[in-house]
């Protein structure tokens, strides 16, 4: 059976033009996806965890779903400060149950945001977000800047769907007209296709952004001959390209959120965009990674007022990344139980944060066994959103897209499992 307009649940480009062929409950062919998307659909079945598993002193053994849910409820109710972490690889409906659950438990809820674009959000909270949809970029942008981002490897269809290689309604010959600037500390594959590549010295982002702001403000005489390894000549050229553009779109990745200065870099980038808007139209979009990491921020914000790292221990929402974010809470050994949903912190957190996961009762709800499994007491497999579960997901520009289910592999969804756990918790707490 051929499924059209299938949405790819891998990265936050959320490409919605895939054609997927299924035969007898198996995915046999995928069209239009990139390498990452293809791989996700075609190999999904090989890696699934088949049934709930429980850790015993001598190894892993299977568990019934009933036991897994009972024990999860018991762990969460018995904890003083449970951490509910992950959420980027599931749909908005499940995320919203997670936020409700954290509130009733008086726990902390955080998503993978805190280790990807958390700093971008901190900067946006300081100085605002001059954003737009990717449709605007596609149809209008004649200048695209990728700063600390490598879409060819991390978001392989970003350039062909929304920027460099796509037609634009308001551009005559988009492919020729559109210029691309890439800024990075290494010559990435994306740098190879740039019209202008700026190679900056490690940690030099803030200085280069400041220099560009100064030039755009008309203060180029105060710029030294080089700034973080970038020549003044190149900086002047770049500033001119930006000012001359009819519509510029600035995309930034973790190359700038994870480096020193963190959110202050993004603040500076937003202020550069602000400066450029005095000359032309310029926008800025974070290159969000997981397909629904943005969704968690949306859901959490409309439910609590805050986008991630929300602590309910005071009986109300409290937000202070650096204190209420997952890595910090684990490093301080503050949480006494953890529920991991749709992510793999053991592969992506510094090892001393990971160690604490194994010292407390940890339960994981995830379709695949992963490195976090090793630190869990239990894992409950669920359906994969976009393959055998449906739900709402948010693209990197904040556009909600309904992700489809294309077959049934017999797994419960995140919403089913979390809904049941939440129902039992409410019952026990009499709320």
């Amino acid at each position: 059976m051929l499924h059209e307009d299938v949405v790819c649940p891998f990265c936050a480009c959320l490409c919605d033009d895939l054609k997927v062929e299924t035969d007898n409950g198996t995915i046999v062919k995928v069209d239009n996806a990139c390498d990452l998307g293809n791989h996700k659909f075609l190999t999904d079945d090989d890696h699934r965890l088949k049934e709930p598993i429980r850790r015993t002193p001598s190894g892993w053994t299977s568990a019934t779903l009933q036991h897994a849910i009972d024990r999860t409820v018991e762990i969460l109710l018995g904890a003083d400060r449970p951490l509910l972490y992950g959420w980027s690889g599931t749909h908005g409906e499940a995320q919203s149950i997670g936020v409700h659950m954290a509130e009733v438990l008086g726990g902390v809820i955080d998503s993978t945001t805190s280790v990807c674009h958390g700093p971008s959000i901190l900067a946006i909270q300081e100085v605002g977000h001059p954003g737009c949809t990717l449709g605007q970029v596609k149809n209008r942008a004649d200048l695209v800047v990728y700063w600390g981002a490598n879409p060819i490897e991390a978001h392989p269809r970003h350039m062909s769907r929304y920027t460099t290689y796509t037609d634009g309604f308001f551009l005559d010959r988009a492919f020729k007209e559109r210029k691309v600037i890439v800024v990075d500390i290494r010559r990435t594959q994306t740098a190879e296709v740039a019209d202008e590549f700026i190679l900056i010295k490690k940690g030099g982002d803030y200085a280069v952004l400041s220099a560009l702001r100064a030039i755009v403000r008309g203060k180029s005489d105060m710029i030294p001959a080089t700034v973080a390894g970038v020549t003044k000549e190149q900086l002047l050229r770049i500033a001119e390209m930006c000012k001359k553009a009819k519509f510029g779109a600035f995309f930034f990745g973790m190359g700038i959120t994870q480096t020193q200065g963190k959110y202050k870099n993004i603040r500076n980038a937003i202020e550069l965009v602000d400066e450029l808007n005095r000359h032309t139209k310029f926008t800025l979009t974070p290159m969000r990674g997981h397909y629904n990491v943005y969704g968690f921020n949306e859901v959490c914000t409309w439910m609590t007022g805050y986008p991630y790292a929300v602590d309910f221990c005071r009986g109300m929402a409290f937000y202070n990344p650096g204190e209420t974010s997952a890595v910090d809470i684990l490093a301080r050994k503050e949480c006494d139980a953890c529920l991991v949903v749709a992510s793999d912190p053991a592969a992506h957190f510094p090892k001393d944060a990971v160690r604490h996961l194994g010292e407390i009762p940890t339960v994981q709800i995830d379709p695949y066994p992963n490195t976090t499994t090793a630190f869990c007491e239990l894992q409950i497999p669920v359906a994969v959103t976009g393959i055998d579960a449906q739900g709402t997901s948010y693209r990197m520009d904040g556009v909600p897209i309904r992700v489809k289910s294309i077959l049934n592999r017999g797994y419960p969804t995140d919403t089913d499992i979390l809904g049941e756990i939440y129902r039992r918790i409410k019952e026990a707490k009499r709320v």
Binding site: L122, Q258, T259, S325, D344, F375
Partner: protein, 129 residues
Amino acid sequence: MIFTLNTGRTIQQGNNVEMKYHPDYAKEVSRCHMNPLDMLDLGVMDGERVRVTGPAGSVVMYVVQDETVSHSTVFVPYGIYANQVISTETHGTGMPDFKTTEANLEPTEDSVLTVPELLRALGGMPYVA
């Protein structure tokens, strides 16, 4: 020699993201990409091993020659190997220093641990179907 450890996504890391016990995942995220001149200074060749030591500890990785990596930095695909050396310090932002950790590199004959070995060392019990 001290280098700045820069981590990031790669296609291969992305493809193996749902199969962390597969040797392909370990192969990708245990690669330490180095500039050829830095390799010369350190006295290592492509495919040899280095011990990378940072604030949280140390881990052995394979050297991969890579002209795109800048002098005095190394690039490691984001994953469990790099996280053996990165500290939990977030400077009050929630975000560890994934791209700016200072690490000491030295050539070594020690072998590169497998993902299950790394997990066991942290007290985990790997699940193998």
